[in-house]
Amino acid sequence: MKAKGAFLPDIVAFCCAQSAYQAADTAGSMRITYPENIRVIRVPCAGRVDVLHILRAFEKGADGVLVLGCHEEACRHLSGNIRAKNRVQRVNTLLQEVGIDGKRVEMFTLAPNQGSRFARIANEVNERIKELGPSPVKSGA
C-alpha cells in the first residue's frame, strides 16, 4: 500500500472569471502558494458550470472538483453562484448514487482580492481529498 503522502490528487477547480480566477492571480502575485495539483479552469461565471462538466471531470479521472464563485449577492449574472450551488448539490447526489463520495465536489465563494482565502481553500480541499484517497473510478479502471 502506498503511503498517504505519496498520493497527489487530481483536483479540478472551476473558477469564476469575476472573482475566484482573480483571487488565484492575487495569490500568485502575493506569492502565497497553493498546491500545484489543483488545475484552475477559468469560467465566465460559476453559473456556467454544468452538472455534466463536473461529471465529465470525474470520468476523466479527477479525484475532486471545486466550484468557486462570487459571494452571494455579488454575482454579476445575478444568481449564477446560487445556480452553481444547487448544481454542486445535485452532483453530490449523483455521485453518491454511483458509489463515489459526494464530498469530492465542493463549492466556495470568494471575492477577487481574497488571494489568501483562495490558497486556504485550495490547501484544505487538497488535504481532504488526500484523506479520501484516489477516486474509486480511477482505481477500478
Binding site: L55, V98, I100, P136, V137
Partner: protein, 218 residues
C-alpha cells in the same frame, strides 16, 4: 403532459448488467419538460453509468440519442442505425415511449429507465401535480375544471368527505382538498348548483381496458 421520474441508478444498473454496449434513448417531449428523460438527463445517466462501471472495472460503451417523441413509430424507426450497433436499449421515455421501441425492434431487449407517474401539469419550479387519469368520461364540466377523480384522494363525485382539514386533504396536510377547491371555483363562478346535484356511480368501464380509439382526421 406525462410526468415521470428516473428509476434509482441501482435498479437501472441491475437491468443492464452484463451488456457491454447499450443505447440510451431520450424523448424530447413531456419527459424533457419534467426533467426526467430529455437529452440532458440522457447525458447525465450515461455519465453516471460510465463512472459506475469504471469504478467496478466493467466495460461499458454507451451511445446516446434523443428523439422528438418515442411514442411515434416513424420517429422511433430513425433509431435503427444506432440500435443495430448495441446489445440493449435503455429508454428514458415514459412507458408509452418504451413500448414502440420494443415493438419496432422486437429482437432487441428494451428497458425502462423511468417510472412513469402520472398525467399532470406544472405547479411551480420543478413541481408537477397529477391532474387527469384518462377516465374516459370527463367530469370537469361539473366541477369547475378541477378533476375530482384524481385530485380528491378518494375520487368522490358528490362533495367532500369528512376529512377536509382547513382546506387540506386528510391524507396529506400539504395537499389541497379537491372539494374545497371545487367549491371555491364554483362559488366564484356562481355555479354552486352544479355541486348540489346528485351524481350517480361512475361508469368505470367508459374505457374498456386496454383502451383503443379509432378515429378519422378532421
Amino acid at each position: 403532459m406525462i410526468v415521470a421520474e428516473r428509476k434509482p441508478l441501482e435498479d437501472i444498473r441491475e437491468m443492464i448488467a452484463g451488456y457491454k454496449k447499450i443505447l440510451i434513448v431520450g424523448c424530447g417531449t413531456c419527459v424533457t419538460i419534467c426533467w426526467a428523460g430529455g437529452e440532458k438527463e440522457v447525458a447525465v445517466l450515461s455519465s453516471q453509468l460510465r463512472l459506475a462501471s469504471k469504478k467496478d472495472g466493467n466495460e461499458l460503451e454507451i451511445l446516446e440519442a434523443t428523439i422528438e417523441r418515442q411514442c411515434e413509430k416513424e420517429l422511433v424507426e430513425a433509431l435503427k442505425d444506432k440500435v443495430q450497433q448495441v446489445e440493449a436499449v435503455l429508454s428514458m421515455g415514459c412507458g408509452a415511449g418504451v413500448q414502440p421501441i420494443a415493438e419496432i425492434f422486437p429482437d432487441m431487449p428494451v428497458y425502462p429507465a423511468l417510472n412513469t407517474t402520472f398525467v399532470g401539469m406544472p405547479e411551480g419550479e420543478g413541481v408537477w401535480v397529477e391532474t387527469c387519469r384518462a377516465c374516459g368520461d370527463c367530469f370537469l364540466d361539473k366541477t369547475g375544471g378541477i378533476c375530482p377523480i384524481v385530485r380528491c384522494a378518494k375520487g368522490l363525485l358528490n362533495g367532500p368527505c369528512g376529512g377536509t382539514n382547513n382546506g387540506k386533504c386528510e391524507i396529506d396536510s400539504e395537499k389541497d382538498c379537491a372539494w374545497t377547491l371545487i367549491y371555491r371555483r364554483l362559488e366564484q363562478q356562481g355555479r354552486l348548483d352544479a355541486m348540489r346535484k346528485y351524481y350517480p356511480p361512475r361508469n368505470f368501464q367508459a374505457v374498456i381496458r386496454p383502451g383503443k380509439v379509432e378515429t378519422l382526421p378532421a
